[in-house]
């Protein structure tokens, strides 16, 4: 009896704590900084919206403008789940308007040019927007034209998948994978040689295809090959080793130094650049991932690195402050930032408070203290129901969120649950500036 009493008392305590939460939240807020600064954020993706939400709370009187023509907002970490037949396309789609914070202006046009000397952005519709602070959060461009013989209308047919292209293409990719795992044949997975968003996704998709075939009892009818662009299956060496072991256990073959150049849907062949010259591989199913680059507007504005990532055009920012190295009033956050890691939504979650801190400090004449160390997270799905929760930094160190509890290099159900249940919720809370 006393045990039960203790139980309900603790439950009641937890309940009252919950009820008190909104009050506690208000108290925890930092005081707003008064300013009349004009802040322009290019891009209403994960980075742009999260930063706008946080800045609109921290700043009083600032004119914050988001420039982005896209009416739909994509939850990109969900694309793999859609392409594995686990979620519908709508899972990854919401409306941009839903997330734009109150008090923030949204100009639904593309940015056509940036003049960092005159501090002005011009939109595709000819609007000129002057800024005091500019944040590049445009995301990146998928260069589909770089793959000869490929076009997006092929996706879902001829064994061609392209889950990076968007939720509808992820659905078509699933249809192609579903068919392939019925019929059998050669699956070839690959990644581009450029920097890319969520570099774990191609590996996950190889695992998921293997898993689907096993569940259908058709694994003996398929071969799975992962063609890496260099000598690594994952950029972090310790994770590479783990993936190598899992690939070997699942009988997923690997090839090194293979960069996709062309696809011939008629002959069902993929052509790769290799150190030994061109190499052709037959395929029955593939997931095309093209080279990724900064959008044209960034590359043409003189804000890109001149001596690094020459063909890719990422913004030239300090890796720890994300502030432009030549224009102190310009920041880059998310995929477009020219930093060695960090093209994931989890990275955005860690980058945004840093950029917020530096912007608020600049506007209030105080010292910024936050620093970004390259935190990137990849819930590396190894089959439906299990994942490795891999988190790392610029130095290839593992930086687990739950050290000693959730082992990063162990295939765990809890890591799958985090991906499947908690991540989208955390992402949405992040967009609202609450996580």
């Amino acid at each position: 009896m006393s045990l039960d009493r203790r139980h309900f008392l603790s439950l009641a305590a937890a309940s009252s704590l919950m009820a008190a939460a909104p009050a506690g939240q208000a108290a925890a807020r930092q005081p707003a900084v008064a300013t009349s600064a004009r802040i322009v954020i290019l891009g209403a993706g994960a980075a742009g919206l999260s930063l706008a939400s946080r800045l609109s709370r921290r700043l009083e009187g600032a004119v914050i403008t988001i420039v982005d023509p896209r009416q739909n907002h994509y939850y990109q970490p969900g694309f793999t789940l859609v392409a594995a037949g686990l979620k519908p396309a709508e899972y990854a789609v919401s409306s941009t308007a839903h997330w734009v914070p109150r008090g923030v202006d949204w100009i639904a046009e593309a940015a056509a040019s940036i003049d960092p000397e005159a501090r002005v952005v011009e939109t595709a519709g000819g609007q000129r927007i002057d800024y005091d602070i500019l944040v590049l959060a445009t995301g990146l461009t998928l260069d589909w034209n770089a793959i000869e013989g490929f076009s997006l209308d092929l996706v879902g047919r001829e064994g061609i998948g392209a889950l990076y292209a968007g939720p509808d293409y992820a659905v078509k990719t699933w249809a192609a994978m579903d068919r392939f795992t019925e019929e059998g044949g050669e699956a070839v997975f690959l990644r581009p040689a450029t920097e890319m968003k969520c570099a774990g996704a191609p590996v996950k998709y190889a695992f998921l295809t293997d898993d689907r075939a096993r569940r259908k009892g058709t694994r003996a009818k398929i071969n799975v090959t992962y063609a890496a662009n260099n000598n690594a299956l994952f950029s972090v060496p310790i994770v590479h080793e783990k993936v190598r072991m899992l690939f070997s256990e699942r009988e997923i073959g690997t090839l090194n130094n293979h960069v996709l150049k062309a696809i011939d849907p008629g002959r069902r062949t993929l052509t790769f650049d290799t150190p030994e010259g061109r190499s052709e591989l037959p395929y029955s199913f593939t997931n095309v991932i093209p080279p990724m680059r900064a959008p044209g507007v960034i590359r043409q504005s003189g804000l890109s690195w001149a001596d690094r990532w020459i063909d890719e055009g990422w913004a030239e920012v300090d890796p720890h402050t994300l502030r432009h190295r030549r224009y102190a009033e310009v920041f880059a956050v998310g995929d477009v930032a020219g930093v060695p890691k960090g093209k994931t939504a989890a990275s955005v979650k860690w980058q945004v408070p840093v950029v917020e801190d530096h912007i608020v400090a600049a506007l209030s004449d105080t010292e910024a203290t936050k620093r970004y160390d390259g935190y990137t997270s990849c819930p590396l799905i190894t089959r439906v129901g299990r994942a490795l929760l891999v988190e790392f930094d610029y130095n290839d160190n593992l930086v687990p969120s739950f050290p000693g509890v959730v082992a990063p290099l162990e295939e765990l159900w809890v890591s799958w649950l985090i991906k499947e249940v908690a991540l989208k919720a955390t992402y949405n809370a992040m967009l609202r500036g609450r996580a």
Binding site: F8, G385, A407, W413, A425, R434, A435
Partner: protein, 122 residues
């Protein structure tokens, strides 16, 4: 994870279930807890007969909670991969069991009323 505060957790849960559903569920949990508290105080004792039925319902609650989580997350028993997975599974089962027991006890007490509860007490 950065800034894992109580507010963040609430925000994440709100997003997970939708603001409305989350607070409805939270309110339901609070109401059932207070109803349980109410019948215990009203009866001034635990009715062991009701408690027996509540205990018998515990395995049902445990299994139901585990199945619910597994179905909602496309997973199964074979996905248990390490100690933390076992701990989590047990925690879900225990939460389901205790929740069910409290619910069953409270519902019985509210339906049967206070007098019989006192009579039943050992």
């Amino acid at each position: 994870m950065e800034e894992l505060t109580f507010q963040t957790l609430i925000a994440v849960f709100e997003e997970m279930f939708g603001k409305g559903l989350f607070w409805v569920m939270a309110a339901a949990a609070i109401i059932i807890t207070f109803a349980y508290l109410y019948v215990l105080i009203r009866d001034r004792a635990v009715s062991w007969r009701k408690f027996l039925l509540a205990q018998l319902s515990m395995p049902v609650g445990a299994v139901a909670a585990v199945l619910f989580v597994q179905i909602m997350t496309d997973s199964a028993m074979r996905d248990i991969g390490g100690p933390i997975d076992v701990i989590l599974l047990l925690a879900i089962a225990v939460a389901g069991a205790v929740g069910m027991a409290v619910l069953v006890y409270t519902v019985q007490s509210l339906i049967r009323g206070g007098k019989t509860a006192v009579d039943d007490t050992l």
